[in-house]
């Protein structure tokens, strides 16, 4: 009886432990092995890492959880990797003859799973995966799998698609990187800014995938955001990649993430900014955002992340002062010069109405060519409210007909009812 009870208890614990360890350790094992074998053998690295967890699940359910589960996993992975290298034919041809002189006649293969090498390998892997040779979508998918240890099902859920599609996408992306012979390394200092750009874009897309995701799964959405922040933090911690724009992106994500719990209510509905309970804003993340924004304030290059982080900072200040809106307007003016996006154009026009008045903003809004965007008509409706309520209603109704999600439709309907 006693043993059975203990067994059942272990099973419960294991159910939590193995997926958690998978999330944190799979990516480390894959990165180290892949770095050791070369990107061409990434599937072998993945297989060895997966096998390691399979053996863990089997062994631990029979013999109980070892004292140091992580060291246990590393040991198994190391042995499997050594076995693979010993069997590998190229290895035999090229290196084995030299090893014959070894007195003990043993082959000395080292697999370095030290914290330093784990960290370096992951960072190098980041540059390999976020390579301009593959599409941003493929970069995000591979990042989730190899840098974040997400399961295929989780990735499929995040993209609202099926496992088969994701498997195909990842397969093609790996094939492409292999064909291009992309090496696993941190780019040379002369190249780093350019390559970092792609890495940062992927991290930001990953974050947005979680923040604005269509997926209803709250846990996955939050995980995507925090994984993006973790990857960015790895870049901040490394002296070669600790650049102002990296700090700016991290700051931006901290500010946004600070509202994560306030922007969705218990029923999973979006809570608009003005209706959010500021008590639910995470002040720790707000101050971290401020810290990294300060760290970003060096060098002579103003990136779009700097501007977006500064805008995000103002969004953490729920005041309605002229100073705030003038600052937000000027930040948008500069952001749009660096990179146009419809959402920045709309937010700029809203800030313009707050800083310079609604009439000027209406004139500017009507110049924007965004007739298929329901946010555009929502903005026009807002601007006309109390100036010409008839026109305001017309615009809101146009927005209503263009809105796609139930949540958006409800929000717009509420505005019409208020008129």
């Amino acid at each position: 009886m006693g043993r059975q009870f203990t067994g059942a208890f272990l099973c419960m614990e294991q159910q939590e432990l193995i997926p958690n360890l998978f999330r944190t350790e799979y990516r480390k094992i894959v990165s180290v092995l892949c770095k050791r074998f070369g990107f061409g053998q990434i599937e072998i690295a993945e297989d060895i890492a997966s096998d390691t967890f399979l053996v863990a699940a089997q062994t631990w359910s029979m013999q109980g959880i070892p004292q140091n589960p992580i060291a246990w996993l590393y040991n198994v992975a190391k042995n499997k990797a050594k076995n693979y290298l010993q069997r590998d034919k190229t290895f035999e041809k090229k290196i084995a003859p030299e090893l014959k002189t070894n007195e003990r006649g043993e082959t000395e293969i080292e697999i370095d799973l030290s914290p330093q090498n784990i960290n370096d390998s992951q960072l190098q892997m980041m540059f390999t995966i976020c390579h301009p040779a593959i599409s941003p979508e493929a970069q995000i998918g591979l990042s989730l799998r190899i840098l974040c240890g997400f399961g295929i099902t989780e990735i499929a859920d995040a993209f609202l698609t099926n496992k088969e599609t994701i498997n195909k996408r990842l397969f093609r992306a790996k094939e492409k990187l292999r064909d291009e012979k992309i090496s696993i390394e941190i780019p040379a200092p002369s190249e780093i800014d350019k390559r970092l750009e792609t890495v940062l874009t992927t991290i930001y897309l990953l974050f947005n995938e979680g923040y604005y995701s269509v997926s209803q799964n709250q846990t996955i959405r939050k995980d995507l955001c925090f994984e993006a922040m973790r990857l960015c933090y790895m870049l901040v911690e490394n002296k070669y990649t600790n650049k102002p724009q990296v700090n700016a992106l991290l700051s931006l994500m901290c500010f946004h993430a600070s509202r994560f719990d306030a922007r969705i209510n218990k029923n999973g509905e979006t809570v608009l900014y003005e209706d959010q309970d500021t008590n639910l804003w995470n002040s720790d993340l707000v101050s971290k955002g401020g810290y990294f924004l300060n760290c970003a304030a060096s060098g002579d290059k103003l990136s779009k992340y700097h501007l977006e982080a500064a805008i995000a900072y103002w969004n953490t200040q729920k005041t309605d002062t002229q100073e705030k809106w003038e600052a937000v307007l000027q930040l948008h003016n500069r952001l749009l010069q660096i990179e146009y996006s419809p959402i920045a154009a709309l937010n700029r026009t809203y800030a313009l109405s707050k800083a310079n008045g609604k009439r000027e903003a209406i004139k500017e809004a009507e110049k924007l060519n965004l007739a298929d965007n329901h946010f555009y008509f929502t903005l026009l409706g807002e601007l006309y409210t109390n100036i010409d309520n008839y026109k305001a209603k017309q615009h809101f109704q146009r927005a209503l007909s263009l809105a796609k999600t139930e949540a958006d439709k409800q929000t717009i309907q509420k505005k019409i009812d208020k008129l």
């Binding site: 307007l329 948008h332 749009l336 010069q337 146009y340 154009a345 700029r348 313009l352 110049k367 924007l368």
Partner: protein, 117 residues
């Protein structure tokens, strides 16, 4: 879509504006450029400083500033994307430089380095 340079021409570059005036003018210029950028029609912009300005003449004589007998001077220019010169002119009309009497905006299509110009 073509690119046009919108060149800001000040009738008298020797006029000195107060810091407050400069601040107002800066905001208006930024709002003007932001409005063009919000339509995805902004390409690039270059402000020109009066500090350290020099004029080199055909005699190779160098004088300070673009001032003196040639009063008119260029304050800066931006490059916009436009379907027609008329559209570019509409952008130019919004430039705060035109608040100064005698100031002008010159609108010039940019040569496309493709051998046709």
């Amino acid at each position: 879509m073509d690119e046009y340079a919108l060149i800001m021409r000040h009738e008298d570059g020797t006029k000195i504006a107060s810091p407050e005036q400069i601040q107002v003018w800066m905001k208006q210029t930024m709002d003007w450029i932001g409005g063009i950028a919000a339509q995805n029609k902004f390409s690039s912009g270059t402000g020109l400083l009066f500090d350290d300005a020099r004029v080199v003449r055909s005699t190779k004589v160098v004088t300070n500033g673009p001032f003196g007998e040639i009063k008119e001077t260029i304050g800066g220019f931006i490059v916009v994307k436009a379907d027609s010169v008329e559209e570019a002119v509409e952008f130019a009309k919004g430039c705060p430089v035109l608040q100064g009497e005698g100031n002008t905006m010159e609108v010039r299509r940019i040569a496309k380095n493709d051998g046709t110009h």
